[in-house]
């Protein structure tokens, strides 16, 4: 099997097509392992992986941990509540201390954009970004792409629209970079106050009308509206958001075609997406979760076994 050109997975921006192809293709193999009675292979035996989570996360952390354990890696978890960060230690000191305990791979979630870039230039471990601020969440981008490819057989020429708070979304950015590299046509849709500056220059179409966006799309990726975000800052109310941008059965029907529906989770039912859609026949939301473990196994394997 060939190997990746990248040393770390910090994002999908400027990751070559061959690397993304390799990760997606390898994921098929790991997905098959997940269907076996004994879901474990010795691929990363003897390797130590640290999950550094400086921000709350349940599903991404569990998904990574399962992937690591199924590859037989030794796993250490570190979350802010149990860390020394609260005592005023810098990220760099925390990372260097953990590294001094001889780990091989660091999986990191952090609220600051670019924190992976920052550490990877100062530490010797392999880094996998599990989400950095509003920058990137590459394994989520990859699992979304994998799920779309699973449904359509290819990404080339497919039309994918990401809907919601694009400005604050690392999921949106990773999807945009990865999908464009793989030949998809990408659009975003949301209120203009949630679309970041000069978005078109990233090579995406921008819709502010949901019906137009749905008519464009073969697949939509519906972003979670962050309820904890200051309501009223970027849009007037959840009610108005739901009424204007909420994905409902009725709106999908009006588009006149079968649109595949993705959501990175966790879902706010009845806000950005209606239950009937989330649980409906065109939803791949649960397969996304399964694929997430396989994608992370593929990434851990390819990054972790890559020769220095």
């Amino acid at each position: 099997m060939s190997s990746l050109s990248i040393q770390h997975l910090l994002g999908l921006h400027e990751v070559p097509r061959e690397d993304i192809q390799l990760i997606l293709d390898s994921t098929d193999t790991f997905l098959e392992i997940l269907d076996r009675p004994i879901k474990k292979v010795p691929t990363l035996q003897g390797k130590t992986v640290v999950n550094l989570f400086f921000e709350n996360s349940t599903r991404t952390r569990i998904s990574f941990e399962l992937a690591e354990r199924r590859l037989s890696a030794d796993v250490v978890n570190f979350a802010t509540s149990s860390s020394s960060v609260s005592k005023g230690e810098t990220l760099l000191d925390t990372a260097r201390n953990i590294e001094a305990m001889k780990v091989d791979i660091v999986v990191m979630r952090h609220s600051a954009a670019g924190s992976g870039h920052f550490l990877s230039t100062r530490c010797t471990s392999k880094f996998i970004n599990a989400g950095d601020g509003a920058h990137e969440h590459p394994t989520q981008g990859l699992l979304d792409m994998f799920s779309i490819r699973q449904k359509f057989g290819t990404l080339e020429g497919l039309r994918v629209c990401i809907i919601g708070d694009i400005a604050h979304s690392r999921v949106a950015r990773s999807n945009i970079y990865g999908l464009i590299t793989m030949g998809a046509e990408v659009a975003v849709c949301g209120p203009p106050s949630m679309i970041p500056f000069d978005m078109e220059k990233l090579g995406v179409r921008v819709f502010t009308s949901l019906p137009d966006a749905l008519r464009f799309s073969d697949a939509i990726n519906v972003l979670r509206i962050q309820l904890e975000r200051d309501a009223g800052a970027d849009f007037p109310s959840l009610r108005e958001y739901r009424n204007t941008f909420g994905i409902t059965r009725e709106r999908l029907d009006a588009a006149g075609k079968d649109i595949t529906v993705l959501h990175p989770g966790p879902i706010n039912r009845g806000v950005e997406i209606e239950s009937e859609v989330a649980d409906g026949p065109y939803s791949v939301i649960l397969p996304q979760v399964t694929n997430g473990v396989a994608i992370r196994m593929a990434v851990l394997y390819l990054i972790g076994t890559k020769a220095e």
Partner: protein
């Protein structure tokens, strides 16, 4: 009595219109003679063939961090950095701890600076504790020795107070130096809002934060006939506003920092916090607008906004790093490389931006290179190529984005108060 004889100096003085190659004899800090073939038995001889002698440079925007943050920089190390960069004078901003909002802090700074070869001129706060709530005692501060007022680091944003400050300071004939930024538009931002911030997912600072405040401030300045100096101008929109103000004859001046005419926000890719400052690095269009503003006299001054920080403060996640970079020891090289060699400025214009104009704006004595005048000189080498190495800086700080960059033009030394300091 110490004498210096500078042989074969290329003397350029925009004030007297001098551009000649001659010898300069300095006795007890005063220029005694400028002529060809001067001979002296007891003078310290320095052959300046290939070097240019100009009126002493003045950086009207530095942060020397004393009192309060001496671990970042202090007046002594800051002055050493200024000398190494070719400056004989600096004006230091009042965001110290305590801030320069009463006479005792001014006196402290002047005492600390006493005896240094570089003149250090304090700038007083516009408002008490820089809180933007009530005016600092401007007359007291002026009498103690401040040369301007500024809340730099923060804007004077309260419009009622801004009006009062411009009115009140006008009787002292010193400028209000404004850090022009709308705090509501700025909040939480880390870099310029552009396709790069969109790509990097960093919290953006819109150019509107600067453009709108400059336009507003100019309206106030016109209304009360105030004296207004725009600190660290960085946007094309702000330059347009200053251009219009100058056309209408208002008492509005502006400065540009070297990083704003030599770097764009593309440099932020890589998340190196040495590219984080406020105002942030802008786009290529803005960089061009800054060069045009300097060429056209819209920007009167090149000022560094020298902002030292300790290594461990800067070596953190980009969004958590403090704003600011140091600039004293790279300013001349950047100006020569980016402006002089690219023919945006002539040499006399460049000297005006570094010496004549900042001194005029701050009301300092205008320097002349002629017999009988105090020798306050910068000695610069316009032809030398060198590689920026932060480990060799005189500043305590190392937070420069220009480490490793090859520049043309470097300070050779300064002469002030009868003393010479060579840069190397």
């Amino acid at each position: 009595m110490t004498s210096y004889l500078f042989k074969n100096a290329h003397i350029v003085d925009p004030v007297t219109g001098t551009d000649t190659q001659k010898d300069i004899l300095i006795v007890d800090g005063v220029i005694e003679r400028i002529d060809e073939g001067i001979v002296s038995d007891d003078a310290i001889l320095l052959d300046l063939a290939g070097k240019t002698v100009t009126p002493g440079f003045c950086d009207m925007h530095v942060h020397f961090r004393e009192p309060g943050f001496e671990y970042k920089e202090d007046i002594r190390s800051g002055a050493a950095a200024a000398a190494a960069g070719g400056f004989t004078a600096v004006a230091c901003m009042p965001n110290t701890d305590p801030p320069i909002d009463n006479a005792s802090v001014v006196t402290l700074i002047l005492q600390k600076a006493h005896g240094l070869t570089v003149d250090v001129y304090p700038i007083g706060c516009v408002t008490k504790a820089r809180r933007g709530e009530s005016l600092a005692p401007m007359v007291e501060l002026r009498e103690a020795g401040v040369v301007a007022f500024s809340d730099d680091g923060s804007p004077v944003h309260n419009t009622k107070l801004l009006r009062t400050a411009l009115e009140y300071a006008s009787m002292l004939d010193v400028p209000i130096i404004q850090h022009a930024e709308d705090p509501l538009l700025f909040v939480g931002g880390a870099m310029n809002e552009s396709v790069v911030s969109t790509e990097l997912g960093l919290p953006p600072i819109s150019r509107l934060a600067e453009d709108t405040v400059v336009r507003r401030d100019i309206a106030f300045t016109e209304y009360v006939n105030g004296k207004y100096h725009l600190a660290h101008m960085s946007t094309a929109g702000a330059a347009d506003a200053v251009r219009e103000a100058k056309l209408r004859g208002l008492r509005v001046t502006s400065e540009v920092a070297p990083h704003h005419f030599s770097l764009t926000d593309e440099s932020v890719r890589g998340y190196d916090s040495n590219f984080k400052m406020n105002p942030p690095l802008r786009t290529a269009d803005d960089v061009r607008a800054m060069k045009e503003a300097l060429r056209d006299g819209i920007a009167d001054v090149i000022a560094t906004d020298h902002a030292p920080h300790a290594m461990d403060e800067k070596d953190v996640e980009f969004v958590y790093a403090p704003f600011g970079i140091i600039g004293l020891e790279t300013a001349l090289g950047l100006a020569v490389t980016e402006l002089l060699l690219q023919e945006w400025l002539t040499l006399p214009q460049l000297i005006e931006k570094f010496s004549t104009n900042p001194r005029r704006i701050l009301g300092l004595e205008q320097l002349r290179i002629e017999a009988g005048a105090q020798a306050n000189l910068s000695i610069i080498d316009l032809g030398v190529q060198w590689t920026v190495d932060v480990t060799r800086f005189r500043s305590k700080a190392r937070n420069s984005p220009f480490h490793g960059r090859v520049l043309t033009g470097k300070a050779f030394g300064i002469f002030n108060k009868g003393r010479m300091i060579l840069s190397e």
